[in-house]
């Protein structure tokens, strides 16, 4: 088992909420104001690294859903201010949601537990925008945001974690309770608890005021590392207590993914989680774990249709997914 690339911490994100002085928040912003806010960001980022803008109004439904599946935009952006837009760099690592709940949601998403690096990157972008604009800032309360739950640093640091061990051993609840004592919260991948198929969970800070950026980054990073340790311990316990059942479940899932004729995304998520666990245990050999990790996003409904270059109904998608997953898994695994 290689714990350095164990796939437990899938990605991390540092997100800063910012608003420009002299403009009402997006929910009350008129057309002219919304356009002005977007222009401010584009002008500020016109120097240095190259960024592209996609306006919500210009997005097709498929494009919007594709970006949402990749966590680059939110529901609030899709259904809120009509001048909402997303400004992204070439690698998609730095992404700024404009006219969402706040004027700006500047975020940097990196793979693995690299929160300090993610924060440093987004902080540099924030400094660049701040050097040419005035943010709404109060000496006592810090950066002012549409909801006071984000006021202060405006920083939300989070990590997306794959936690089958803790889930299967029923120890996730204890883990959630432990981190909540340190002002952190655990929720499903898209903030929807009932949609946490595939054992994916997000860990993030709850408080943003009265605590410095470094403290937030360090505490979330520390909690994530701690949960990772717990997950490894749970996986070891699981192996010791029920290897036969575990191995059987994993190989059955592998069998279905490599042979099915149709495959819903829900079933794919569930079975794929077991296959990833099988790779971790060494039951299934995989040389390219990075490519394996990318499969989950690749076969999400909108992302799959975008890469296929065609719109498909659910039935067509399931057949297309089954063929793609089977051939890719056979190629990546032994």
């Amino acid at each position: 088992m290689n714990n350095d690339n164990n796939g437990i911490v899938i990605s991390c994100r540092a997100r800063l909420a910012r608003n420009f002085e002299g403009y009402v928040f997006p929910a009350r912003l008129d057309d002219e104001g919304g356009k002005a806010v977007l222009k401010k960001v584009q002008d500020a980022l016109s120097h240095g690294e190259s960024f592209g803008t996609v306006k919500r109004a210009d997005m097709s439904d498929l494009q919007a859903e594709t970006l949402k599946e990749l966590h680059l935009i939110s529901d609030e952006l899709l259904h809120g201010n009509k001048n909402a837009a997303v400004v992204v760099n070439k690698t998609n690592e730095v992404c700024i949601m404009v006219n969402e709940e706040d004027h700006l949601r500047e975020q940097c998403i990196l793979s693995g537990n690299r929160l300090p690096e993610a924060y440093a990157k987004i902080c540099a972008v924030d400094d660049l925008i701040a050097s040419q604009n005035k943010f709404a800032f109060d000496k006592r309360l810090g950066y002012l945001t549409a909801c006071p739950t984000n006021v202060g640093t405006g920083l939300r640091a989070s990590a997306l974690m794959f936690l089958p061990g803790l889930s299967m051993t029923n120890t996730l609840a204890a883990c959630v309770n432990a981190v909540s004592r340190f002002d952190m919260t655990v929720r499903g991948e898209y903030g929807e608890g009932s949609d946490s198929e595939g054992f994916l969970y997000q860990i993030s800070n709850q408080k943003t005021l009265g605590i410095s950026e470094d403290e937030i980054i360090n505490s979330v990073s520390g909690a994530v590392a701690q949960i990772e340790k717990q997950e490894i311990a749970a996986r070891n316990a699981l192996l010791q207590s029920s290897e036969t059942i575990l191995r059987d479940n994993i190989m059955r899932a592998y069998g279905i993914l490599t042979n099915a004729y149709r495959l819903s995304f829900k079933e794919f998520t569930e079975k794929f989680a077991l296959v990833k666990l099988g790779v971790y245990y060494g039951f299934i050999k995989c040389e390219d774990k990075e490519a394996l990790g990318k499969m989950l996003d690749k076969y999400r409904p909108a992302n799959m249709m975008t890469s296929a270059g065609k719109i498909m109904n659910e039935g067509e998608r399931d057949i297309y997914r089954a063929a793609g997953v089977a051939s890719e898994l056979k190629r990546l695994t032994i």
């Binding site: 202060g152 709850q206 005021l209 009265g210």
Partner: protein
């Protein structure tokens, strides 16, 4: 008074609704904010006396009665009652208009009511940021009457101040 319960879905807004769901076979109590509730169409719980949990925890009852619900922000038109109901403000000036109301709820949902982090016009050096952090920790220690810890933090602050002063002299 109890802390404000944050929304279990978004984790960033105060919960105003309650529901029960099943996650991985385990029944979970869920607290939701206005936005997430709308998204999924959950039903409002029976919370007697209060329009919302946010309103309930935002201010002591006696003071809450003194807040004029028709107070309106002159810049954006957001009303106090709208803020109490949704947890959202209309513009940066709302923070001045509803200062008392906001400080009261912020004091309960946040760690403190004093920003200790980055500022747009002044970038804290790592030493300054560390000093601010220690200052806050010392206040916390004093608040729980842990004077031993407060003294220890005080020593650390002195050392840090001395080190930065030396650094400053060298730079000069």
């Amino acid at each position: 008074m109890a802390d404000i319960r944050m929304c279990d879905e978004c984790g960033i807004r105060p919960a105003v609704y309650y529901t029960t769901t099943v996650i991985n076979g385990v029944a979970n109590e869920r607290y939701l904010c206005e936005v997430c509730k709308k998204k999924h169409g959950f039903i409002k719980p029976d919370i007697p006396f209060f329009d919302s949990l946010f309103e309930a925890f935002g201010m002591p009852v006696a003071e809450r009665e003194n807040v004029r619900r028709n107070d309106v922000c002159p810049t954006c038109g957001c009303s106090a009652s709208n803020y109490l109901k949704t947890g959202f403000l209309g513009c940066p000036d709302c923070y001045k208009t509803f200062e008392k109301l906001i400080l009261d709820s912020v004091g309960k949902i946040q760690k403190d009511t004093k920003h200790t982090g980055k500022s747009p016009d002044k970038f804290y050096s790592p030493e300054e940021a560390k000093y601010n952090e220690l200052l806050r920790k010392r206040e916390e220690a004093v608040a729980v009457e842990d004077y031993k810890l407060a003294a220890k933090i005080n020593e650390e602050m002195k050392k840090l101040k001395a080190t930065s002063a030396q650094g400053g002299e060298k730079n000069e």
